[in-house]
């Protein structure tokens, strides 16, 4: 089967595309919507918003989560805020400026039409969330407050203390639970999706495992929506939650969904540095801290004085020095690499010399202790709890950590993957952030897809299947996938090797971090492409999984997820190896400017790399979607 990438970008000027498209799409009559079943996998911002919105429209929705409650999804951990082109502060913001900033921030590797639509619906998200009772920060007059964020020169970020993700997720969750209470959404908790079922070239359902009793069964629907998040946990140490994994997206890929730009991973600049080898995950300190914190390292690598005792003249505020106009608010990829350069040069701080300072002394003297506390108290507390250091008195130590993945399942303008009837929304798809995501844009995209895009576009597909019943779960297509899944699970249990799943995952994570992390080069990637599959073979024969398949077995769950990470890691390296340029989060040592900035090659690489599964993990087939920039002029990003 040959795969074709049809992006289905509507005609017309950029600002009319979405309006025109909404009008030209087929509709499903309100009375007919109840005849359709939609399966939504995942209950983060995208999944919860989509499931609630689809149910409100009248569709029958089944929603699945491996958590005990939809409210646990990792969207909840986003701290800083959500962008929207409201221009409430009259500082020159507009839909076009948000669109422009996002395309530029993504280093010109995203699809213009998608990004413009994102900027258009951003304003509706704020209205929706406010009406739901999301307690956004307000000014004394009772109107909404904004803060600034990296990569933008306007204040367009709405926030709820340092818990914006939590509040937006709980808003979406409340809408979802309202539909659950009304009986229009059936909620399935502690159920993990392990495969997609494709029949006659379209998605007809999924196969799941009940995490409590181990039951493997099928579910059929007219369409399947994957809202299953990103794959940063491929690195083992990341800011993602412990359960975050790529299984749903990866299994969809193996069933025919192209995987786009897997090498575009984001390393977040402000995380707490690793303290020891047992560390299970890294903790992010919101990027909003860069609004008021100043980043510096001692000029002298051998300086052993406490931060407070180092005089101004012996500090290097390197972001302010190199990027005077954006300063401490330079985009994430730029800031992360600058921190790496400082640490690699030996100027790192802390006991392991693996961090840089983020200093609030100036902010405290300018704004006062109380104002700083009001803005960041929960972040400061979180920091102190972990490190036992008080950031009001001594600067924070921070270092970049894997955080978000811009790559994901390839989707067209309608958010449909290359498998008809299979959709991917939120972080699970690749569409809006190009090679680098700007801060406060993940919440925006998850909710845009879930509330305002998918509920429209899915109707266009479903309308074609009116009065066609779902494929019953006793169809041979389902039986075959169920059997494969059972075999796979049994395989992990049969392999009573000598090493734990975590042990393998740690080793895989180190390989991917070293060779496909913050910077990459050809020889390292070649090495990774040969070492990862070799380690994968070892994993398959030597992993030790105790317990049974018909009970709650967390090791078994993890084994399947790590198995998929091995395959995905290989694809990431293949993608990073093939892209002989630097752009956004993908930084190839060979391709940099004299100042060490990313050097794009627009002539040869202004395309989306969408990979097709072939059955051989090291030899996928590349398909290209050329990117055209009609509204934003291709230019070298400069934040100086």
């Amino acid at each position: 089967m040959t795969m074709t990438l049809d992006s289905k970008i509507p005609d017309g000027p950029i600002s009319d595309k979405w309006e025109n498209h909404k009008f030209s799409m087929k509709l499903v009559n309100p009375n007919n919507k109840r005849k359709f079943n939609v399966l939504v996998v995942g209950t983060g911002l995208g999944g919860a918003a989509a499931a609630a919105s689809l149910a409100e429209l009248g569709y029958n929705v089944d929603v699945f989560t491996y958590h005990d409650s939809p409210r646990r999804a990792h969207s909840i951990a986003a701290q800083g805020g959500i962008n929207a082109a409201k221009n409430y502060h009259g500082d020159g913001d507009s839909i076009f400026r948000l669109f422009y900033d996002t395309v530029k921030g993504g280093d010109f590797r995203s699809r213009e039409a998608n990004v413009h639509r994102l900027a258009e619906v951003s304003v509706d998200i704020i209205d929706q969330a406010t009406a739901q009772g999301v307690p956004f920060a307000r000014e004394y007059g009772g109107l909404l407050d904004n803060r600034s964020f990296g990569g933008a020169q306007v204040s367009r970020t709405f926030y709820a203390r340092g818990q914006t993700g939590q509040q937006l997720l709980l808003g979406a969750y409340s809408s979802l639970m309202r539909q659950v209470g009304l009986g229009t959404v059936k909620l399935h908790t502690k159920i993990e999706m392990l495969d997609v079922v494709v029949k006659d070239g379209r998605a007809v359902g999924i196969v799941t495992r009940d995490l409590v009793n181990g039951e493997i069964r099928s579910w059929s629907g007219h369409a399947v929506v994957l809202a299953t998040g990103g794959y940063s946990n491929v690195y083992y140490l990341s800011t993602n939650a412990m359960y975050c994994n790529a299984t749903a997206a990866w299994r969809a890929h193996r069933r025919g969904a192209a995987f786009a730009n897997p090498c575009y991973t984001q390393i977040h600049p402000t995380c707490i540095p690793q303290s020891d080898e047992f560390q299970s995950k890294l903790t992010l300190m919101s990027e909003s801290l860069r609004n008021d914190g100043r980043i510096w390292v001692p000029k002298n690598p051998d300086d052993t004085r406490r931060a407070r005792d180092i005089p101004e003249s012996e500090r290097d505020y390197y972001l302010e020095r190199i990027y005077p106009s954006f300063g401490n608010l330079a985009p994430r990829d730029v800031s992360s690499r600058a921190a790496k350069r400082a640490v690699d040069a030996g100027n790192g701080v802390g006991p392991l010399k693996n961090g840089v300072y983020l200093d609030f002394a100036d902010a405290i003297s300018r704004l006062g202790h109380d104002k700083v506390e009001e803005r960041y108290s929960n972040l400061f507390e979180m920091y102190e709890r972990i490190t036992d250091e008080n950031p009001y008195e001594t600067p924070m130590r921070i270092y970049p950590a894997p955080h978000y993945t811009m790559g994901g399942l390839w989707v067209d303008y309608n958010l449909m993957t290359t498998v008809p009837g299979l959709y991917a929304i939120g972080e699970a798809n690749f569409s809006d952030h190009g090679a680098n995501r700007l801060g406060a844009s993940a919440l925006m995209q998850g909710l845009a897809d879930g509330y305002f895009v998918l509920p429209y576009t899915i109707g266009d597909y479903l309308a074609g299947w009116l009065n066609t019943p779902v494929v019953p779960t006793d169809d041979p297509a389902f039986a075959a996938v169920e059997d494969e899944t059972k075999e796979r699970v049994a395989g992990f249990l049969a392999s009573r090797g000598t090493r734990t799943v975590d042990d393998f995952h740690r080793q895989l994570g180190r390989l991917v971090w070293d060779y496909c992390g913050m910077s990459r080069d050809e020889s390292g990637l070649d090495k990774a492409i040969s070492e990862i599959p070799a380690l994968y073979e070892e994993f398959k024969s030597d992993v030790k999984v105790l317990g049974t398949g018909d009970s709650l077995n967390q090791t078994l769950e993890k084994a399947g997820r790590v198995d998929d990470f091995f395959q995905l890691a290989t694809l990431m390296c293949v993608d990073a190896r093939h892209r002989e340029e630097s752009c956004g989060g993908h930084f190839r040592e060979e391709y940099q400017t004299e100042d060490g900035e990313a050097l794009r090659d627009d002539e040869n690489y202004a395309y989306v790399a969408a990979w097709e599964w072939t059955g051989d993990i090291s030899n996928p087939v590349l398909h290209k979607e050329d990117l055209e920039f009609e509204n934003v002029k291709l230019a070298t990003r400069s934040y100086k």
Binding site: A49, A52, S53, H67, D68, S69, R71, I76, A77, Y88, D124, D127, Q128, A129, T130, A131, Q132, G133, V134, P135, F136, A137, R138, Y140, G142, L143, L144, A160, Q163, Q166, Q167, S174, S175, M177, R178, V180, G181, L187, T189, A241, M242, Q279, S280, K281, T283, L284, M382, R385, I386, Y451, F452, P455, T498, T500, D502, K544, L546, S551, L552, T555
Partner: protein, 254 residues
């Protein structure tokens, strides 16, 4: 450092559970409590003993997934701290630490330290929302909210749904959890149209699963987000008012 753990092991909801004792050597003070359990689990696996099942996800105290009784205290000895934020520096070398799941009739143990908290979702489904179908909202700045009200709503909304309040309560009451959501929405102007129905429905659903509040205040002390029991007073006030005010019931009162 070295600690001795007494951990509740229970194969499934119907099985009988028991405490098992484990020595854990070579632990570092900077490790989190859950990382210590991770280390123990890896060692158990190598020895051929099934690892201890416990729930945790974000490990930064915001998702509400984790939660165990540590020496009889929900989330352990530190105030305003979820289990995942507890560090071994809170313990002494040589300590014996007892680890148990939440104990409440509404939270059956699924395995070892993991319980089923689905009853919380039922409470939210019965009224913990503002009915606003997607796309029907007015411009956000059309509804000014006094800053003090927004701040108070945020204080209540900070609840992470971990259920420590229930585990700490001698009556296994869920009033703090329920009140936090009721108060958040009932204080905001957006929440007024459904105010009285909301509190009636949520309290009634709560009472079908959980015990009654008798003002011990253990919930507030155990809460990793320091949610104030003042919100319970707000809920109780609204509940009483709702019994008089609820226009839905006017015609039935004869």
């Amino acid at each position: 450092m070295r600690v001795t753990l007494q951990v509740w092991r229970q194969a499934n909801t119907d099985a009988r559970g028991e405490f098992k004792t484990y020595q854990v050597d070579d632990i570092k003070e900077d490790m989190s409590f859950l990382e210590m359990l991770d280390v123990l689990n890896e060692r158990l696996t190598i020895q051929g003993e099934e690892p201890i099942t416990f729930d945790s996800d974000c490990r930064e105290g915001i998702c509400g997934t984790c939660g165990v009784m540590v020496n009889g205290q929900a989330h352990g000895p530190e105030a305003a701290t979820a289990t995942c934020q507890l560090h071994m520096r809170s313990f002494q070398d040589g300590d014996t630490i007892t680890v148990e799941p939440w104990r409440a009739g509404a939270f059956p143990v699924l395995k070892d330290l993991m319980v089923d908290r689905a009853a919380f979702d039922e409470i939210i489904a019965s009224g913990g929302f503002i009915s606003v179908p997607t796309g029907s909202a007015p411009d956000a700045n059309l509804i000014p909210v006094p800053k003090s009200v927004a701040e108070a709503a945020m204080d209540a909304a900070a609840c992470i749904g971990c259920a420590a309040c229930v585990a700490a309560c001698p009556n296994s009451a869920a009033n703090l959890f329920t009140a936090a959501k009721v108060a958040q929405l009932n204080m905001l102007p957006q929440g007024q149209p459904e105010r009285w129905d909301r509190v009636l429905n949520m309290v009634e659903t709560m009472e079908s699963y959980f015990g009654s509040c008798t003002n011990h205040g253990e919930c507030e002390k155990a809460c990793p987000k320091s949610i104030s029991i003042d919100f319970i007073a707000i809920m109780n006030r609204d509940y009483v008012k709702a019994k008089f005010k609820n226009r839905r019931l006017v015609s039935q009162q004869g």
